[in-house]
């Protein structure tokens, strides 16, 4: 890989590079793995994740497609059913609306409908999230749709380390995994080991330990939570940050462990608050740790609106460190 540095045990690389390494290593390891999607070859991927891979693997394994998201989803299904291990990329997760039938009615259900006999080693990748000035149709966080569909697994990483390890696990899964990649994180740098490793799907990661309040979150919002935790530490408030990493299956045990320690929880997500995946997390916490809670589980999510274009509106529409900090303080004050 052009951009990786060999400086001992770990290197600091961009998340886009970490993802590229995951794809590259798995393609090397297994000749049935291939990448398919729009502008992944000549262009190199709209977030440069696949830059250089066309030159390395050629057009048979880096398959550029026309603009046809339903077909892209279907290409993955058909190839997976017949013995390949495809990674299909949507240029933006917003475009998955076009492919929902293929993803939900076909990919997710094939195995079950056929009595467990179909094998679908298939990974869907898609950038998501706001903050880029791309307005309503290029900035959504739609993970809630997918976690609700049995037959899909759903992952999303907050660091290059997790991104690489999770994606490698996803590619090796004999299941359909939807991997959401937050656009604002592609250019985030982080340490990644030289040697090969995997991050298992279904295991949360405590990104910061704390004793007063648990923030349960994922993807970009992990960083806002960490920022808020840092700020609040100065005020003597100790915040634990749990990065769920895998949305389905969800590591409920890890979440409960944290909440049983802190007795307070704030669930933080960038999607529209109403009906978002955070509602599932909050529901589970109050249901399974009711007597451990000293305050209601609070949720911080995006405004009830499409994502606006103008910078102040866009920034104001989704959570950030300040909003999380406010919710943490509110949680500490107890009941609304």
């Amino acid at each position: 890989m052009a951009n990786t540095m060999s400086n001992g045990a770990t290197r600091e690389i961009f998340m886009s590079e970490a993802l590229r390494e995951a794809i590259d290593e798995e393609m090397q390891r297994d000749p049935t793995v291939f990448l398919v999607g729009e502008e992944i070859g000549v262009w190199g991927g709209s977030y440069a994740v696949s830059a250089g891979l066309l030159e390395k693997y050629g057009p048979d394994r880096i398959v550029d497609t026309p603009i046809a998201e339903a077909a892209i989803a279907g290409l993955g299904i058909g190839a997976a059913l017949t013995g390949s291990r495809p990674i299909a990329e949507f240029m933006y997760s917003d475009f998955m609306g076009i492919a929902m039938d293929q993803i939900v009615n076909q990919a997710a259900k094939n195995r079950y409908m056929f009595g467990g006999k179909a094998r679908l080693p298939l990974t869907y990748r898609a950038p998501f999230g706001a903050g880029t000035g791309n307005a309503a149709q290029h900035t959504q966080s739609l993970e809630a749709w997918f976690v609700h569909v049995p037959g899909l697994k759903v992952i999303t990483a907050s660091t290059p380390y997790d991104a690489k390890g999770l994606l490698k696990s996803a590619i090796r899964e004999d299941n359909v995994v939807v991997s959401f990649e937050h656009k604002a994180l592609y250019a985030m740098r982080g340490h990644v080991p030289e040697e090969e490793y995997l991050v298992p799907i279904g295991v949360a990661d405590v990104k910061r330990e704390g004793t007063d309040v648990s923030v349960i979150t994922y993807a970009r919002q992990v960083h806002y939570a960490l920022e808020a935790a840092e700020q609040l530490a100065a005020e003597g408030i100790s915040v634990e940050v749990v990065d769920v990493r895998s949305l389905y299956p969800l590591d409920t045990d890890a979440i409960l462990r944290s909440v049983r320690k802190t007795h307070r929880a704030v669930v933080l997500y960038e999607a529209v608050r109403f009906g978002g995946f955070g509602a599932e997390i909050a529901s589970q916490i109050q249901e399974l740790a009711f007597d451990d809670l000293d305050a209601p589980v609070l949720r911080v999510g995006a405004a009830h609106a499409p994502v606006p274009f103008s910078e102040p509106l866009e920034q104001g529409s989704f959570p950030d460190a300040e909003k999380v900090a406010a919710a943490i303080r509110e949680s500490l004050q107890g009941v609304r």
Partner: protein, 359 residues
């Protein structure tokens, strides 16, 4: 104006006028006997027997399923392929082992033609553990992955991009396999059709798009749904798009064989419009009269099984006795299938959340 006229004509098709006019226009062209004979001559006895057997199996499987449904032994929806047997049979006869198909909501025919076991199919319709899907799929969701049947599909048109994906897989794996995507005239207007066919054509994938134009999607006539015939679409994708008599198993066989050869030679997809007719309603429950009795009768008279039997008999390739022996075997197979299904256990609640994910 024209649209309104058409729509009114449609509404009045209940009275039969429009339907009658159409029946004339779509009469299947009888092929010269010479061609039939050439194809028939090229087939060995095993093939000829297999074709008859397969068509009869489909017919009898469905007639039996209909009885069972009416006796309240099964539930859900059943879509019968009766009258269309020549298309699935001729098409699958032209395939090789290991080739793939994607199927539709009207999938029993494709399934049997691809070699599925009728007992496991019947058990699936009965919702039993011994069914193809352990009862989880039902009539609309039977696959036999080992035989290359990638599955029936409840979503009209949805099998098309999947077939394209299977063909992409074959190209990358260089396994030399070909995929047929069966779909109805009603799938012609779907976005999935266009995306799947265009992508396959740009990539020259080894896939055959086989439109079973049985002339209706529910009550909608194919000419109402498709602004032009499916066979007019080839040039839009730079691929051949022959229109054939879907009740002539020989013509289907020859056309699919040629398309499969093209596919295997890296020349890309073919779109085939196979004109046929469903004798029964859209589902087992459909009692609506959007088609005239005359139209139905005309097509029943062109029954593909009868036509095949006549051709084979007059070519002296099989005797009445041989046909009857096959029929009798099939009766036994079917009886066995039903008793197998009926004797099979119902799934238990612990099965509900099983088979969602691979371990």
């Amino acid at each position: 104006m024209a649209a309104r006229r058409r729509a009114v004509a449609r509404a009045s098709s209940k009275t039969g006028k429009a339907s009658k006019a159409r029946a004339k226009a779509t009469k299947s062209r009888a092929r010269p006997t010479a061609t039939v004979n050439t194809t028939l001559k090229s087939m060995d006895d095993g093939q000829v027997r297999w074709i008859y057997q397969t068509m009869r199996r489909i017919r009898r499987f469905e007639e039996t399923a209909e009885e069972a449904f009416k006796a309240a032994k099964m539930r859900g929806a059943l879509h019968f392929y009766i009258g269309e047997e020549a298309t699935a049979t001729g098409a699958c006869a032209a395939l090789e082992d290991g080739d793939f198909i994607t199927s539709t909501h009207r999938g029993h025919g494709h399934c049997i033609a691809k070699g599925a076991r009728m007992d496991k199919m019947m058990a699936e319709l009965f919702g039993r553990t011994t069914g193809y899907s352990g009862g989880k799929g039902g009539s609309m969701h039977i696959a036999d992955l080992e035989l290359g049947n990638l599955g029936a599909n409840g979503i009209v048109g949805a099998g098309i991009p999947i077939a394209t994906g299977a063909a992409l897989g074959s190209k990358l794996r260089q396994d030399g396999q070909v995929t047929i995507s069966f779909f109805g005239d009603g799938a012609g207007p779907t976005g999935a059709f266009h995306e799947g066919v265009n992508v396959a054509a740009t990539m020259k994938l080894p896939v055959i798009f086989l439109c079973e134009n049985n002339q209706y999607g529910m009550a909608t006539h194919n000419e109402f749904a498709n602004a032009a015939p499916i066979s007019a679409r080839g040039p839009a994708y730079s691929i051949p798009s022959p229109k054939i008599d879907g009740n002539d198993v020989f013509e289907v066989y020859e056309t699919v064989k040629e398309a499969a050869d093209r596919a295997r030679n890296g020349e890309g997809p073919t779109l085939i419009e196979s004109l046929t007719y469903r004798h029964k309603g859209h589902t087992v429950l459909d009692q609506k009269n959007y088609r005239t009795k005359e139209e139905i009768a005309e097509w029943v008279a062109r029954d593909p099984i009868e036509r095949f039997r006549t051709a084979v008999s007059s070519a002296k390739r099989m005797t009445a006795k041989e046909f009857d022996a096959i029929d009798a075997d099939i009766e036994r197979e079917i009886e066995n299938a039903v008793s197998f299904a009926e004797a099979s256990p119902w799934p238990t609640l612990d099965a509900i959340e099983r088979d969602v994910y691979a371990e």
